[in-house]
């Protein structure tokens, strides 16, 4: 067992999980709102979405500052040399090797918290998708700040499209992320790791 997730990472991750799920749920309620009964009424969904978005922004800043001060950011650096080969090996392991109970090609260690596929997708999510969804979200929170447009399409519509597309990609990521967490020796053991901070080295 290694101590992999310090307290600030666990706090950030917990905030991220809770508020991301609320944002996805309330975002869906708004995007697919209807005059008939809905899970959450439109005005309540808007309020919850706005508040959750603000908290998620704070949580993201915590992540960025923590990464900068505590060196956690190094795990998100993509090693471009041999990138394709390592991605292929990892993907093959998830698809076939895991099912044949083969050893993990990139076991977790203090120096390598994420396998190549994780490092790549987490970097995309945390440094591209999340900032875009946060910035566009703040734009929609203060729509009067959005000016202009491109090719006659209003800036507000473009911001909305960006926000919805990024929100959708983050939702897809959440589904895959939650599923891959179950790929440990026991389906719940990785969940326990992010709560306690201690990770079983034989888990993916």
């Amino acid at each position: 067992m290694i101590y992999l997730y310090p307290r600030y990472i666990r706090l950030w991750h917990m905030l991220n999980t809770v508020f991301m799920l609320i944002l996805i749920l309330t975002g869906l309620c708004m995007q697919y709102s209807s005059r008939d009964a809905s899970i959450i009424s439109f005005p309540v969904a808007v309020q919850m979405h706005n508040i959750s978005g603000i908290i998620l922004t704070a949580s993201y800043l915590l992540f960025i500052i923590g990464n900068f001060l505590r060196g956690n950011g190094k795990h998100y650096r993509i090693q471009w040399q041999g990138f394709k080969k390592r991605m292929f090996i990892q993907l093959r392991y998830y698809m076939f090797g895991y099912l044949k109970k083969q050893n993990h090609p990139y076991p977790v260690s203090r120096e390598r918290k994420f396998n190549p596929l994780q490092a790549f997708t987490y970097a995309l999510i945390m440094y591209i998708a999340l900032p875009l969804v946060v910035i566009s979200g703040w734009g929609l929170l203060f729509p009067e700040t959005i000016h202009g447009g491109v090719f006659g399409v209003s800036g507000l519509v473009l911001t909305d499209l960006l926000h919805v597309i990024m929100g959708f990609l983050l939702s897809i990521f959440m589904i895959i992320h939650i599923y891959t967490i179950t790929l440990g020796h026991h389906p719940l053991r990785n969940f326990r790791s992010i709560v306690t901070g201690w990770h079983h080295t034989e888990d993916t």
Partner: protein
């Protein structure tokens, strides 16, 4: 004898632009020389004394507005009594019943597709008509400046501002408002306090979107509802079957909406309505991607169960 003397007037060549839309420009100048100016002068021919007076409110008619209005080609005396040719205007002329829309447009095949009769039915049931008999078509559709806007719109934002200005001319101007009601105050901002992003709503939808009863058979609903019955449910607009489809965007989106959903094809460049702007192509793509992901995970789960991993 007292004669009105225009203090400024228009030079004949300044009227040329108007002559392109009306053959009665010179006749109409008999009226516009006072009513088309901010002030007029009265001269006593005996004493030579000249008084300058202001042209107030409803009596001031801007030439550029009149000659851009729907009724621009009409001579003044088509609608007004010839008594108005006399100065000072006789009181009988001032109290004459003005023409209503249906007097010219009603029950006429040429105007049948505008359905003025249905518009009148709605108006007669509206809170405006029920509140006071002094209300008439002209209170909203200014006789001298009204022009069709939504039907010919090229810029929806401007059209919305134009249409909302009609409502605000009374509902945001107590001097006008009190002419028709005994209510003691109006405060649009306060009464719409509940509305989030109030300014944006006011800029991007017309008052009548929420304050009229939708009627699919006419382009612009005229059944203005009592304030208690105004729409306050967000989902009325913020949903795929948005109320705006039947009101503001009715004209532009009749064909496109069936296939592509709210506004995707026609006015997406001007509108953004959460819950209604569902992009047809993105929706399709998202369902496919979501299906592939869930399918892939389901296959993996089945394989795990079979392999007991």
């Amino acid at each position: 004898m007292i004669e009105p003397v225009s203090s400024k007037g228009q030079e004949p060549d300044e009227l040329d632009a108007y002559r392109e839309v009306s053959e009665f420009v010179d006749d109409n100048e008999a009226c516009f020389r006072c009513h088309g100016e901010s002030k007029f002068q009265l001269e006593d021919e005996l004493t030579g004394r000249v008084l300058t007076r202001k042209v107030y409110g409803d009596h001031k008619i801007l030439r550029e507005e009149y000659y851009a209005s729907n009724h621009k080609s009409f001579p003044c005396f088509d609608c007004h009594s010839k008594d108005f040719a006399i100065f000072p205007h006789p009181l009988e002329g001032r109290l004459e019943e003005p023409w209503a829309c249906l007097d010219c447009h009603g029950y006429d095949e040429d105007y049948a597709h505008y359905q003025f009769e249905k518009i009148e039915e709605e108006y007669l049931a509206s809170t405006h008509h029920l509140a006071t008999e002094e209300f008439s078509c002209w209170k909203c559709h200014d006789n001298h400046s009204y022009r069709i806007s939504i039907r010919n719109t090229e810029n929806l934002t401007e059209t919305i501002a134009y249409d909302n200005a009609i409502c605000l001319s009374c509902h945001a101007d107590f001097d006008e408002f009190q002419l028709l009601t005994d209510r003691e105050g109006i405060n649009i901002i306060q009464t719409h306090d509940w509305l989030p992003n109030q300014g944006l709503h006011f800029q991007h939808v017309r008052c009548i979107e929420c304050h009229t009863q939708v009627n699919d058979s006419i382009l612009v609903a005229h059944l203005v509802l009592p304030k208690e019955e105004a729409v306050q449910n967000c989902n009325e607009c913020h949903s795929s079957d948005s109320r705006l489809m039947h009101t503001l965007y009715k004209h532009q989106s009749l064909e496109a909406r069936e296939k592509y959903g709210f506004l995707n094809a026609v006015v997406i460049n001007e509108a953004y309505v959460i819950g209604a702007n569902r992009n047809y192509f993105l929706n399709r793509a998202s369902v496919i991607i979501f299906g592939l992901v869930i399918g892939g995970l389901a296959i993996h789960i089945i394989a795990r169960i079979r392999k007991r991993v």
